[in-house]
C-alpha cells in the first residue's frame, strides 16, 4: 500500500503541493488527474522519492524519504513523462537497462515479451533515437515493465508509477498501454498513473484523485469524482458528464469556456 500524509513540496519558496493525503492500494489502478500545473506530476515525483518533500510517504511499509534507491527500485518502477537518452543505444539495450543486477530469469525472453506487450515486436535492433516520440515512450514503458516484471513478488506487490503514459500515443496504442497497466493491477500489482484523458481514466481506473491548485479536491471512483460541477471547478471550463451503459461515465467538453 502507498500512503502519503501531509505531503508538501516547494520549488524554492513557491509551494506547489500543499498538505496532500494520498493512498493507493495494490491490485488497483489509481489515476491522478487535474489541470496543468495542479501538482500531479510533482506529487508523483515526490512519492517516488525523486523530489525532496515534507511529510511522510510509505510504500509497502518503506519510508520513501530515507529508503535506499536499490530497495525502492526492487519494488517500484517509474515511467517519466519524457526520457532523454544519451548515446545511440538500440531498443534492446534500452529495455535491458530495466533488468536488475541479480536477475535470475532469462532476461532476453522477458525483454522480448515486454516489447510485445507494448506493441513493438521486431524493434529490438532499431536505434532508440530514430523512433517517433510515441514509440520511444513505449520502449521506456517496456523497460519499466521489465524492472517490476512480476506484479507480485516474494516480498509483496510491485508498483508502477506512470507519468502521462499515453499522452503522446494514438488512440489504438493508448488503449493497448492502458490495458497493460490494467493487467498489471489485475494481477495484484499497484499502478499509479498521472492522466490527462478523462475518458481513458474513467474506463481503466479503479480510483481517481483529482488535483487542483496544489491540493486534492476530490477522490473516489470515476463516477464519484467526475461530476459536472467538480470538473468545472477544477478545470475552469464546461464539461458535460454522461453515463455510458457499459463503461461508466464519459466526458464531453463543451464549447463555451467560462473562466478563460
Amino acid at each position: 500500500m502507498l500512503t502519503a500524509r501531509d505531503l508538501s513540496v516547494n520549488y524554492g519558496s513557491k509551494p506547489v503541493l500543499r498538505g496532500v493525503d494520498l493512498t493507493a492500494h495494490p491490485g488497483q489502478l489509481t489515476a491522478i488527474v487535474g489541470p496543468n500545473g495542479s501538482g500531479k506530476s510533482t506529487a508523483l515525483k515526490a512519492v517516488t522519492g525523486e523530489l525532496p518533500f515534507i511529510g511522510d510517504v510509505r510504500l509497502s511499509g518503506m519510508d520513501v524519504a530515507h529508503a535506499r534507491p536499490g530497495d525502492l527500485a526492487s519494488v517500484r518502477a517509474v515511467l517519466p513523462q519524457f526520457t532523454p537518452l544519451a548515446f545511440p543505444f538500440t531498443v534492446l539495450e534500452v529495455v535491458r537497462l530495466g533488468v536488475s543486477r541479480g536477475a535470475t530469469f532469462n532476461c532476453d525472453q522477458i525483454v522480448n515479451e515486454a516489447l510485445h506487450r507494448v506493441g513493438l515486436d521486431g524493434y529490438q535492433g532499431r536505434y532508440f533515437q530514430e523512433l517517433s516520440g510515441g514509440e520511444q515512450q513505449r520502449v521506456q514503458l517496456a523497460r519499466v515493465l521489465v524492472q517490476v516484471w512480476q506484479p507480485v513478488g516474494d516480498d509483496g506487490p510491485r508498483w508502477l508509477f506512470l507519468d502521462e503514459p499515453v499522452s503522446s500515443l494514438d488512440i489504438g496504442h493508448q488503449l493497448q498501454i492502458m490495458q497493460v497497466a490494467r493487467t498489471f493491477a489485475d494481477m495484484g500489482g499497484g499502478v499509479i498513473a498521472v492522466m490527462h484523458d478523462l475518458n481513458l481514466t474513467a474506463m481503466f481506473a479503479d480510483k481517481v484523485v483529482l488535483f487542483s491548485n496544489g491540493g486534492v479536491v476530490s477522490q473516489g471512483t470515476a463516477t464519484e469524482v467526475f461530476t459536472d460541477d467538480m470538473l468545472m471547478q477544477a478545470y475552469g471550463c464546461r464539461i458535460a458528464v454522461s453515463m455510458a451503459p457499459s463503461s461508466g461515465p464519459f466526458i464531453l467538453p463543451q464549447t463555451a469556456a467560462l473562466n478563460i
Binding site: K45, T48, G49, E50, R68, P69, G70, D71, L72, A73, S74, R76, A77, V78, P80, T83, P84, L85, A86, F87, P88, F89, T90, V91, L92, E93, V94, L97, G98, S100, R101, N106, D108, Q109, V111, N112, E113, G122, Q124, G125, R126, Q129, Q147
Partner: protein
C-alpha cells in the same frame, strides 16, 4: 510467461552488440600486443629486439648497450605509453558518460588544464610549500591529481542545476576554466627561474620521453588504480544515459556514481598528465570510434577504450620518435594532428542530432 516462444532462445538477439564488443576486445588485445612489440623493436637506435631475444634464448650474452636500449629506455616507455593512453581514453569515456555527451574530454573541458596547473604549482613553488618534502617524488602527481579533481568538481557544479547537466554550460564553462587555469599557469611560468622553466617546458610538451623505471613506480599505482576501478562504473553510466532521475529509479546511487566517476577521471587524468604532459584528443577519439562500432554499453566501452587508447598512443609515440629520428616530435602534436580534424568531423556530423 509459459507461452513465451521458444524461438527467442538459442539465437543472438537482434540489437545485441555485446558479442561483437567482446570480439573487438580480443582483437584490441592483439593490436595492443603488436603495438607493444613494435614499440620495443623500433627506435632511433639500430638495436634489434629480435636479435636480442634470439641471443637470450640461445643463452648468449646481450650487449650492455642493447640491454640499456631495450630494458631502460624502450620498455619503460612502452609501459608508460600503455598506461597513459589507457588512462586518457578511459577518462574520456567516463567523462562522456557522466556528462551524457560525446564531446566531453579531459583536454577540452579543462580537466587537463587543471592538472597542468597543479603540476606547475609544485614545480615553481615546490620549495615553499610545507607538504612538499612529505610527498617526495609523488609531489607532482598528487598535485596534478588535486588540480584535475578541483577542475572536474567546479565544472560539474557549474554545469549541473537541479540534477540536470547542461552540455552548453559545461563546454563553455570548461573553456573558461581551461583559460583561467592556463592564465594562472602562465603567471607561475613567468615567475619561474630558468631551471624551473626548463622543467616545465619539457613537461608541458607532452612526451613519453621521460619514462623511466623510477617514474613508473609512481605512475603504475596512480594510473592503474583508477583504471581497474573504472569498470565498477559501467552499469551506472549505462543507467545514467537515461538521465539522473531515471537512473535513480533504476536503483542507482546517482550521487555516489558521480563522485566515483569524478575521482576516477581526476585520478587517471591527473596522473597521466603529470607523467606525460598535455596529450590531447585520445579521450575523445577512442571512445567515439568504439561507440560507432559496438554501441555505447559501458561494460565493454570502458575496457575496449583502455585497450585501444593504449595501442593508439603507442603507435603515435612510435611515429613521434621515428618520423624525424634521432630527434623527437612531441607526441601531443601527433595526437592533435589526428584528433583535431576528427573532433571537427564529429561536431559537423552530429550538429543536426545533438542539440547543444
Amino acid at each position: 510467461m509459459a507461452n513465451l516462444s521458444e524461438s527467442y532462445s538459442n539465437r543472438l538477439a537482434e540489437g545485441d552488440r555485446s558479442r561483437g564488443a567482446r570480439r573487438l576486445g580480443f582483437a584490441l588485445i592483439v593490436l595492443l600486443a603488436v603495438a607493444c612489440m613494435s614499440g620495443l623493436a623500433v627506435g632511433a637506435s639500430d638495436t634489434s629486439l629480435w636479435h636480442a631475444l634470439f641471443d637470450y634464448v640461445r643463452g648468449e650474452d646481450i650487449s650492455r648497450r642493447d640491454q640499456i636500449v631495450l630494458w631502460d629506455i624502450r620498455l619503460p616507455r612502452v609501459i608508460m605509453g600503455c598506461l597513459v593512453g589507457a588512462a586518457l581514453a578511459v577518462s574520456g569515456a567516463v567523462l562522456q558518460g557522466l556528462f551524457r555527451n560525446p564531446l566531453a574530454d579531459p583536454g577540452i573541458v579543462g580537466v587537463s588544464a587543471g592538472a597542468s596547473l597543479g603540476a606547475v604549482v609544485v614545480i615553481v613553488l615546490g620549495g615553499m610549500l610545507p607538504f612538499a618534502a612529505l610527498l617526495g617524488p609523488w609531489l607532482i602527481s598528487v598535485s596534478a591529481f588535486v588540480g584535475a579533481w578541483s577542475a572536474t568538481m567546479v565544472l560539474y557544479r557549474i554545469a549541473t542545476r537541479r540534477g540536470c547537466t547542461s552540455v552548453a554550460t559545461m563546454l563553455l564553462a570548461g573553456i573558461a576554466l581551461a583559460a583561467l587555469a592556463m592564465a594562472l599557469t602562465g603567471v607561475l611560468v613567468y615567475l619561474a627561474d630558468d631551471a624551473q622553466m626548463r622543467d616545465f617546458t619539457f613537461w608541458n610538451m607532452g612526451s613519453l620521453a621521460g619514462a623511466s623505471w623510477s617514474r613508473l613506480t609512481i605512475a603504475v599505482p596512480l594510473i592503474s588504480l583508477p583504471l581497474f576501478l573504472s569498470p565498477l562504473l559501467a552499469r551506472g553510466l549505462n543507467a545514467l544515459a537515461l538521465g539522473e532521475a531515471a537512473a535513480g529509479h533504476l536503483g542507482l546511487e546517482v550521487q555516489r556514481l558521480k563522485q566515483g566517476a569524478i575521482l576516477i577521471v581526476a585520478g587517471a587524468t591527473g596522473a597521466a598528465v603529470a607523467v606525460s604532459g598535455g596529450i590531447g584528443f585520445v579521450g575523445i577519439v577512442v571512445p567515439h570510434l568504439l561507440r560507432l562500432v559496438n554501441g555505447p554499453d559501458h561494460r565493454y566501452l570502458l575496457v575496449n577504450s583502455a585497450l585501444l587508447g593504449a595501442a593508439l598512443l603507442l603507435l603515435a609515440d612510435l611515429l613521434s620518435r621515428t618520423i624525424i629520428a634521432p630527434a623527437e616530435l612531441p607526441i601531443g602534436i601527433i595526437t592533435a594532428f589526428v584528433g583535431g580534424p576528427f573532433f571537427l568531423w564529429i561536431l559537423l556530423r552530429q550538429r543536426s542530432v545533438v542539440d547543444l
